[in-house]
Amino acid sequence: MQLSQIRDILKARVLCGEDHLDREVFSACGSDFMSDVLAFVKNQALLLTGLVNPQVVRTADMVEMKCIVFVRGKVPSQEIVDLARERDIVVMTCAKRMYEACGLLYSKGLRGNCDGDD
């Protein structure tokens, strides 16, 4: 799924990486636990989280995630956005809550691709 589709489905606002919305992600992970995210390793993945701090970006970087979506209307500080820009990670924010954001993307075909998924 292209990042531009994710922006449209979630009615998200792009905070950095506006020029890279043609990039694709093939799986997604929603969590506020960074170690859960580190246990999730997929190529070209998206992270949805309600947690806002620099470790979110560092964690996403370690597992080479392409995009972070902050849910529940959370807006990261400029410092956090800059950290993501340096690491070539697209950042968005959306007003939807975690469950709804994940559900919308899942229903449009973006799966977790974890063990146990169909």
Binding site: S35, D36, A39, P54
Partner: protein, 141 residues
Amino acid sequence: METIKLVYPVEGGDLIEAGEASSKMKLTLKKLGLPQDVIRRASICMYEGEINMVIHADGGQAEVEIDPGQIRICMTDTGPGIPDVQQAMQEGFSTAGQTARELGFGAGMGLPNIKRYSDEMHIDTQLGKGTTVTVLIKIPQ
């Protein structure tokens, strides 16, 4: 390729800034052109170890040796040591405080994640003296 040795000090106290050493190592591994999967596994092990050093031990040091066949990461601290390693290796067990939890850590996944992504893992710990976690990641030829 000759063996490359890198040393990264890990500063304690500031969990918000933790992860710099892992980011630097990751960049170096990328520059060396190692496979993506190897870089990712090494980065996760180092990052979890770095976070542990900051949460539990007021920092420490990570030594990274890169050979043609493997990456060896040795993370040493002079913290309180781990009283029960078997318990610490269980997913969900954590002694981390509130600050770590607020930042998304302390879910009891740190050491289990290091084990999950490494080919070999050794923990040498002494109460009151410190802990050394050594991790090997093989590079497929």
